[in-house]
Symmetry: D2
Subunit: 447 residues, 4 copies
């Protein structure tokens, strides 16, 4: 068992750092030091305390030292693993991402990955990641870097832009939800206990949050074949407006019934492999109105709630039972173990395209399966989806590339080209220009 130095950027956060430390506590094959860095140093210090409670409660205090560090360079220096999970700018800046487009008739359910909101959020986030990449190159070039921050694809791409040899990947749990959905259906179909999601083997392709399963297996049974039969039946797509309104009332933003994922299967022959609220943002078919969206049971997460919750999280204190580690659905610690040589692991990862996605240029950050083993991640070539889906993915990836280049060159004129190329943008040029300028102004103001 090797001593591992893990640096968490955004270490003051109340979500990923704590989950990650619980997973470390749960996995007895790890040991070393956790260094928490955050621009809010006090938040990082608070998490040291939480981290120590986690280690202690889970009898792992001898395995991990947790500490905060106020200097980015020394925090990174000598790290074996760097975890990045940050909020780029204040939560208030998301007003620009979400409320302004709505005024022009552009609805977004999440607004952090794609669409006008995703692009302006990227404009706040990427300069931070360019800086991270440069410092990693200088202070821990051999470290494996795991990014959780959205826009995932662009933030990961930003690291590679400034340090092409970086050993980085993006991790996202959206595909796990698809596996969980299929596991549940397997339970129903075969009248067995719901299997673990890891037993559902998906052949995956796309870019983060806009991914598709071209096949799915459980113990030799092909599962999409069954779903394809179901989606032919109009009963699979009842009007879920009532469900949506109930969810709206109960603030259950993240719940979904995979009706969008299944709608893709019906129209294009491949199953959407991300949450419905993400999938709808990459095409013009679902967000023309809340009425259309609600028919699929999907609701939009409002800015007001985000603002309120961000406030609540900052003040949250943890009870012991919240800090007890158990087998979680997150894979960060597993990936870390695999990279250190403990085992070989096949899972979905966001990585530069080496050919795993045949219809995208090399170098683009794409999501597909990969094999993780000793100090090595090798992509597995994804099966091709139908050409209509390739076209959609290609377009999304192209807009991402335009966005990356524009922000890298600090060129808002070029960024406007990306902005109007986004699938959600159907405004005429005058309105598009008006929206773009307002969003930039508000985003800058609230940064």
């Amino acid at each position: 068992m090797k001593e591992t130095r893990i640096c968490i950027l955004g270490g003051g956060g109340r979500l990923w750092p704590i989950q990650f430390m619980k997973d470390l506590a749960f996995n007895p094959a790890t040991k070393g030091r956790v260094v928490l860095y955050d621009i809010d140093y006090k938040a990082a210090q608070n998490n040291v305390e939480v981290g120590n409670r986690i280690m202690s409660l889970n009898k792992s205090g001898d395995r991990f030292v947790v500490e905060a560090n106020d200097h980015l360079k020394t925090a990174l220096s000598g790290s074996d693993i760097v975890i990045i999970s940050i909020e780029p700018g204040k939560t208030e800046a998301r007003y620009a991402d979400l409320i302004l487009p709505e005024k022009y008739g552009i609805l977004q359910s999440v607004g952090d990955t794609t669409g006008p909101g995703g692009i302006i959020r990227a404009r706040r986030a990427l300069p931070i990641f360019f800086e991270f990449g440069r410092l990693i190159k200088e202070h821990c070039p051999e470290a494996w870097v795991i990014n959780y921050t959205n826009p995932m694809t662009l933030c990961t791409a930003a690291l590679y832009k400034v340090f092409p040899e970086i050993k980085a990947l993006g991790c996202c749990h959206e595909v796990f939800h698809t596996q969980n959905y299929l596991a549940k259906r397997v339970g129903e179909w075969f009248d067995i206990d719901t299997p673990d999601r890891r037993e559902i083997k998906i052949d995956l392709c796309g870019v983060n949050h806009f991914t598709f399963a071209t096949s799915a297996y459980y113990k030799g049974e092909e599962l999409l074949f069954r779903l394809k039969e179901e989606v032919k039946d109009s009963k699979t797509f009842p009007d879920l407006t009532e469900v949506a309104l109930k969810r709206l009332k109960e603030e259950k933003w993240f719940e979904c019934d995979q009706k969008i994922a299944l709608s893709f299967l019906k129209e294009f022959g491949v199953l959407g492999a991300a949450g419905d609220r993400h999938l709808v943002e990459f095409v013009p078919y679902y967000l023309d109105s809340d009425e259309t969206l609600h028919r699929y049971g999907v609701i939009r997460t409002p800015y007001a709630w985000r603002e309120r919750v961000a406030q609540e999280k900052r003040n949250k204190s943890y009870e012991d039972k919240e800090l007890i580690a158990e087998r979680s659905d997150e894979e960060g610690v597993d990936i870390m173990s695999a990279l250190l040589g403990d085992f070989v692991m096949v899972t979905n990862i966001n990585r530069p395209n080496e050919g795993q996605i045949s219809y995208l240029p090399l170098g683009r950050i794409v999501e597909s399966n990969g094999v993780i083993s000793e100090n090595s991640i090798r992509p597995i070539i994804a099966s091709d989806p139908p050409m209509s889906v390739q076209t959609m993915i290609r377009r999304v990836s192209d807009v991402q590339e335009l966005t990356l280049e524009a922000i890298y060159n600090n060129d808002d004129e070029a960024l406007f080209e990306a902005f109007i190329s986004d699938p959600l943008m159907t405004l005429n040029l005058k309105d598009a220009r008006g929206l773009f300028e307002q969003m930039i102004e508000e985003s800058d103001k609230r940064m």
Copy 2:
């Protein structure tokens, strides 16, 4: 001078066949036989009479025999050159293409190339071209085939689909208009007589009707550089609503001021190289409303006018002065001469991609410059436009490929995938499905 057998499919038409015969009469280096074929045999016979008058009036009666032929196979048999310029289905079928989308809020200015109208028109046209391709393979496989029919890209692609070795190209005069515009500007800038459009050298890329100039030269002077300065000035884009309304009243559908072409130059750095009424149909920025469109001086050609004019053309009789040949702007006869070995010619052509458009798959029908000489057309590699433009072109080409495959396989479900992938389609799936089914029904009814 070789005897050349030229077969004109759609030989009863009142536009291309007559212009083409005038061009033959004008070019003294040609001789042979013109065979007119049309599903309306009487129209072809009428054009024999017109053709004979043309030859006689232009003292070319000894060079060309003009005849009609009622059998497609014998008309094609032994041809050296095949010209295709047909109307796929009755003009009345265009009701489906144009009026129905409008009811769903989708405006189209031409509706014969792209958008829902272009796709449904392709559904009428392509089966005819599959048949043409098969018969050419059988009866005159060595003939050079020049297509003028819209949707140009798809009709030409259909020929290659069934006969990959066919020696076919698509010809279109839209780029000539751009050359004429630039020639006029050259006259103004340098205070000289407007030069011949052929003296304006354009580096061209794209797909038919959605083409772009990445550079333009007149005698060593780069011209886009000057235009780029102009488009920075807001005076280049005055509100042309009054002009548009006047054009509407005077039925001047084809007039334009290149404001859309220039708008592309402003936003994306390359000059649109087709008429504004075509360019607007490939992006969502100009057709959100007639108000937006009119601001650029562009108006939509209405279905009612098309219907009326089609009727008038059928009954038209020609005066002698209309049949006198002079140097025209069309290049069909020049291309024919070059292929027969008379000279080497560089011009814009629609051909399968062999790499001339680096960002499109091989085999797609693309428009760019080519060198035409003895029995040979070789593409010239086009310079790359900015990535934002590459993305737009790629998307349009992908939708064309989806359309081709769906129609080839007679698969309306697959055609619906193409339909909803088109840049003009921003309906939700329910509305899109409704429109699609109505258009097919009306198109079939009026075929």
Copy 3:
């Protein structure tokens, strides 16, 4: 546990069929029926007896029925797995492959994969594989097909040529030897027991018998780094002529010390990952004379021995102890189990290129790692070797493609183009033509 029907083509052989049945007997997770087909029906019948003894001796008689079948179509019909391990033509035909080139000064150590011998052997083998492919398409299109026959790449390619949707792969144990060599070295370096070869993780690329390791790991330790230090030392390359002569005398054709594999590491930076006797045949550096070859401890397997041993094998009878199953180094049965959904397996496979080898055209049969799971083989993208090695691999693959096309088209003129393009061919055209014609004549005579 599923009932599996396994058809073995070349089921009368005395090597693979027997080993395969022993492996089936050893793996308790399999059951079903083994159908032996051979053009020598009697040999197949003899192996039924041997197979029954294997099942009985290993207490697996209740799991597998073994039978012979004299009709290729019924043998294949309904199979889940097809194993192919045949001798294309009589052993005597190898006279043409081995002796004739020697007369022209072209030495070959094996002569069944590449070089003039490999090409002429392919000319005997491929027509048989075209027939196999066509029959599999007709009688068991869903079967997984595992080929062991040389020339491996070309025989596997022949199956895909006639049936592109075939689910076939080529298996070869040469890489296992490289793993065993590294495992032995690991034992020495770390002073531990020699680990199992499966614990050595190799990143692999190339075409069968001409493969290279770009990295190798054991529990997080990179191994090539150590070897690169060693090859800098001239002591790593002593003159092994004496060793070679001893091997020659003792008929130890297959023994080697990896000096050729290490010589590639020295000159080109990547470790050869096949036996030395194979590696030397793809480049001109080692076979200019036996003297050069012997310096590396490598000897050539003579035709006379092959002829004698073939005779002996035919008459061989088995003792019980030879038929007792134990964990073997062959992976055929493991792969079969993985394809049936028992587990996920990463190993080296020969498969059509989907991009796993970035510098070879798609569709070529290449060797690299792949992930095998339920009814699915997905290639893992191999890391690129230095460009000098890419060039060598590309050339070999190109010659294979030329050979495949020529034999498919039954075109000996085209085959001569392949013949003179082979790395071992340095004759002038007159001599090359003479050799080619003699080899064909002899090969045909002894077929």
Copy 4:
């Protein structure tokens, strides 16, 4: 008519500078200044005198000023056109290129482009071209650069390596010889006067000195078809040993009968489009012995003659009649005129691959047809030769790339990888290493 500043690097030479000035004198559409630079300043000064005589004798004194300049930077500064034609190192250094390989049994007929001689010559030449490229970037980045120096491909590639935006091309007259040969044959076949070579249209592909015609036309007549019939007849390939020996005696090194070019047509289906003495150096089929070579009428240019002639040229004085300008076969001045906007020209050029050669990576310097017009060179896509020829070209280009990278990185170990990858190298590694080290030593000594 624009004032043009032309800088000739190697301006003291006795071949290209003088021919080029004669061509300038002949073409009345040019005017400006010729600046001669040479490391041998005196030689440049001598050529100023010759240049002035040329201008005066051809009544062009008012159009061109000729001057010598002893400083590379000021010579380049402000140039519109840069011509490069230098000898890299002393002629004596060619001893290393030519004599040493012969001692190891490697025969070369020219030894300046490929083979061990070409590689070691490149090692002398490329550092000079890296310097030229850097200075052009600094002092005349907009200039068009025309290179005539061998190894042509590598010297041109070196310019792009250090200045990727350079506007450079390589010019070579070997293809003109092929056109002249075909023109002569056209005269025979059609019983007409030999037409001008420019009337022979060749579709060309390859890398410099290893180029192939896939088709050739004269006024609509395909010419390769006729030659293909001829090469089937063994009378087309008589034993030309006597001819070769006569040439040897008469020192007619450059004469040939295109028998090698035709031998490629016979074996591979495409006509070699360079002189036989160049073509033989890229494959192992002709240089195994002088006997083989002589059978085709080809002889090797000896080092001794080169040494003697170099000396003679230095001391040469010109008679008036040698300086009278007439229409020459060289195209440098024509290309210059076309780039200045005088006309559009289609000819063979050496340029970075933008896709004109489909089977080579982008960026490699390749030879094919291009369109030259106002400040623009656009490649024409070459038709593909058979795959066997693609493989040969690919291999040669790969070795060139390896050579370029190795010399750029000043890495002789990497250069050895290139050296042993060359088609002419069939030595074992020990001998190869010995030859390599001796050649480097001698080349360095005589540099």
